[in-house]
């Protein structure tokens, strides 16, 4: 601790900057008028000896320190609405601190920034963010502080560093793959698509077979679950085709067809060398996480708003399309989570503790009454003490133990993913998507200056009510303009890695 009684100028500036960031242009900030250079050391500042200003300063300073010192980690939810209003720049600006955030919610912010960067058409930034997200969803540092907290009785599931549920983790890698695929880095894209496919494998609690059920036992067993996303498998197949791995391409294509037999013909068309336009159309809103159970300890889902694509045309020419993924289905077909069991244990301990507190209170009340009736002051005091302990225990059980399921979510994900394929002359085209939401609201989009090369061109569209189209983004600025990023995928040369 410094022996100086002054505050260094640099410290003051840091404090002021930090406070202004937290509070905006807050009236609670001390102004430079209240400080003067230290008489003995010009590098130090001393407060002006004005009693009123001193009291005000101490109060303001206290409030700032209190706000800074005790603030909870940012949740990255306050700017979500900007995404749905098709204003991605605001999302990117508001959630920017997530990149350097070391707290448990950082990935919530990074994931949403990734969505926003894609919406903005800033593919380079999106890929950078996807890489950040991918590392975080792939690396598990067992026993991290937040994870330990989440496991403890007094901890909450939301204390754990957010990685998302398996479908959210898979989407981080899927976007990473898509962004690499877009610029012709097919091998890197393949790595990411395969990584996305791995995410759906996990452990889940499923009911045991009837003959194995025992009375009073949980009758659930932990099983390894493996699912297949047809979209990821299709893109893995397409990537393999581009890097001259036909055998692997066939294998992944087969996986895609098995996951969605109704799309088999469309997937074949997607891998046809004549197909040079692949469009990914994201429709609807992400599955909504809910807390179920008496103590909100079980994670459940409800479907977000959905949307339907009616037609996709490139310069008037219809493209074949179909639903290749349903994230609500992916989120809900996995059964219960292992962590729900953990939350269940917490909930039962919370109930036991609350019950113990209740009985202690009741017993204390009787003892206190008995003491009062018998004019026994000691007995009365003992009863009152027991009541206090009981009430305290009940309050503790309710306030300190939180078994609720973690519902932090990457809510800018879509409900469904459509794939559309077409074959058009290389050049600049228009793309028209006819779509509507579940309430028949129009979600159609009209895009101009869409570059299509003779080889594969990947286009990405997001259906949102306030997103009507414009000039298709090809670089680092928004959908209505900006410098082109570089050559299209076909001219971008060999894979980078």
């Amino acid at each position: 601790m410094s022996a100086d009684c002054g505050l260094r100028i640099a410290d003051f500036q840091k404090l002021e900057i930090r406070a202004r960031k937290s509070e905006g242009e807050s009236p609670f900030l001390p102004t430079s008028m209240d400080w003067t250079p230290h008489p003995g050391n010009p590098q130090l500042l001393s407060p002006i000896r004005n009693p009123q200003s001193a009291i005000r300063n101490s109060t303001y300073l206290g409030l700032i320190i209190l706000a800074l010192g005790c603030s909870s980690p940012p949740a990255y939810v306050e700017a979500d609405s900007f995404y749905f209003l098709n204003r991605p720049a605001e999302v990117l600006a508001r959630y920017a601190p997530a990149e350097k955030d070391r707290e448990s919610n950082a990935l919530v912010g990074i994931d949403k920034m990734l969505s926003a960067a894609m919406l903005e058409g800033d593919w380079k930034n999106a890929e950078r963010l996807a890489e950040l997200a991918s590392i975080r969803v792939n690396v598990f540092l067992s026993g991290e502080k937040g994870e330990r907290d989440a496991l403890s009785l007094l901890g909450q599931e939301k204390d754990k560093p957010f990685k998302g549920e398996p479908y959210e983790r898979a989407m981080a890698d899927f976007y990473f793959g898509l962004l690499r695929y877009r610029r012709g880095e097919y091998e890197g894209a393949l790595n990411a698509f395969l990584s996305a496919m791995n995410k759906v494998r996990g452990t889940y609690q499923l009911p045991v077979e009837p003959d194995k059920a025992r009375k009073g036992a949980p009758n659930a067993e932990t099983v390894l679950f493996e699912n297949r996303y047809s979209t990821f498998a299709f893109f893995a197949a397409s990537s393999c085709q581009h890097i001259d791995e036909p055998e692997e391409a066939r294998r992944y294509l087969e996986m895609a067809k098995q996951a969605r037999p109704e799309m088999a013909a469309l997937f074949d068309q997607g891998l046809d060398p004549r197909t040079n336009v692949l469009a990914v159309i994201e429709a609807g809103l992400a599955p909504v996480k809910r807390q179920r159970g008496e103590r909100r300890q079980i994670l459940a889902y409800s479907r977000g708003l959905s949307a339907t694509v009616e037609s996709v045309r490139v310069s008037g020419q219809p493209m074949s399309f179909g639903v290749s993924e349903d994230l609500f289905v992916q989120a809900t077909t996995i059964g219960g989570r292992a962590v729900d069991k953990l939350n269940d244990v917490k909930a039962s301990r919370q109930e036991a503790l609350a019950a113990a507190g209740y009985f202690t209170t009741v017993a204390g009340t009787f003892i206190a009454f008995a003491g009062s009736a018998n004019h026994n002051q000691n007995l009365q005091m003992a009863g009152l003490a027991a009541m206090a302990i009981g009430v305290g225990t009940m309050i503790f059980a309710e306030a300190a133990i939180d078994p609720s399921a973690d519902i932090r979510a990457w809510n800018t994900l879509p409900d469904q993913i459509y794939l559309a394929f077409g074959s058009v002359e290389p050049g600049t085209h228009q793309v028209d998507i006819q779509a509507q939401n579940q309430f028949s609201g129009d979600l159609s989009q009209h895009w101009t200056d869409v570059p299509v090369s003779k080889d594969t061109t990947l286009l990405w569209f997001r259906l949102l009510p306030y997103r009507k189209g414009g000039v298709y983004p090809t670089g680092g600025a928004g959908p209505t303009g900006g410098a082109p990023e570089g050559p299209p995928a076909a001219e971008a040369g060999p894979p980078r890695t």
Binding site: S142, E147, L224
Partner: protein, 219 residues
């Protein structure tokens, strides 16, 4: 914050009750802040924070083991005995990463391998990197720039081509309490194939196996 505490302590006369309350709150809520001190790390040291992904130490080790194996190959030695230097084409496109590791940089791996080979090869081996000179050759051949010397329109052919595949096997098994152990076995396989007859002169396989536990809270 320590300085602020000192300030608050030193100015007790003007602080009043609110200041002391704040100080108490500060003591209760303070946490360790990163200092921003620079720390130089050993790039060849194994990173513990990449889970089952391959890190730089894996790349350094595998490439070194590969070079050692190649140098000990009697077939390669025999070829060197006939004509020195033996010309090897190393093209990153001939090394394919078919794993699900999103952080793996194949270019980094090939560079490391090339550096190790160069260090050990002496005059025995020469490496051909056509990609590096393609643009300049094009400019010189088209007359856009003056050739530095005699320029052969056909660049030198290789005696051998290095090919490789990086594959993986990912296993997950439940451990106690809903946690999952993930084991990633990565196989690096490389071959030197003779151009004139497609005979494989040398091949070897190296493994890196890593594991991580996906905790119960993520299950």
């Amino acid at each position: 914050l320590a300085r602020l505490s000192a300030l608050l302590a030193g100015r007790s006369a003007v602080l009043g009750r609110s200041g002391w309350l704040v100080l108490a709150a500060l003591v209760g809520c303070s946490s360790e802040q990163p200092t921003g001190t620079q720390e130089v790390l050993d790039p060849t040291a194994t990173q513990k924070d990449v889970g089952t992904l391959v890190d730089i130490s894996d790349i350094v080790e595998v490439s070194q083991r590969m070079v050692n194996s190649l140098r000990q190959s009697p077939q390669v030695a025999s070829l060197i005995g006939k004509a020195r230097p033996v010309r090897i084409s190393i093209d990153p496109r001939e090394v394919k990463n078919l794993t699900s590791m999103t952080n793996f940089s194949k270019r980094l791996f090939v560079n490391q391998m090339l550096a190790s080979l160069n260090k050990n090869a002496g005059d025995d081996l020469a490496f051909i990197d056509r990609e590096a000179v393609a643009a300049e050759r094009e400019r010189q051949l088209s007359g856009e720039v003056k050739p530095a010397g005699e320029l052969d329109p056909a660049s030198a052919g290789a005696d051998l081509v290095l090919t490789g595949r990086i594959l993986e096997k990912l296993d997950r098994e439940p451990t106690g309490g809903g946690a999952v152990k993930e084991v990633r076995s990565v196989q690096f396989s490389f071959s030197l194939v003779q151009v004139k007859d497609a005979l494989t002169l040398w091949s070897d396989v190296f493994y890196r196996v890593k594991q991580q536990v996906i905790g119960t809270v993520y299950g």
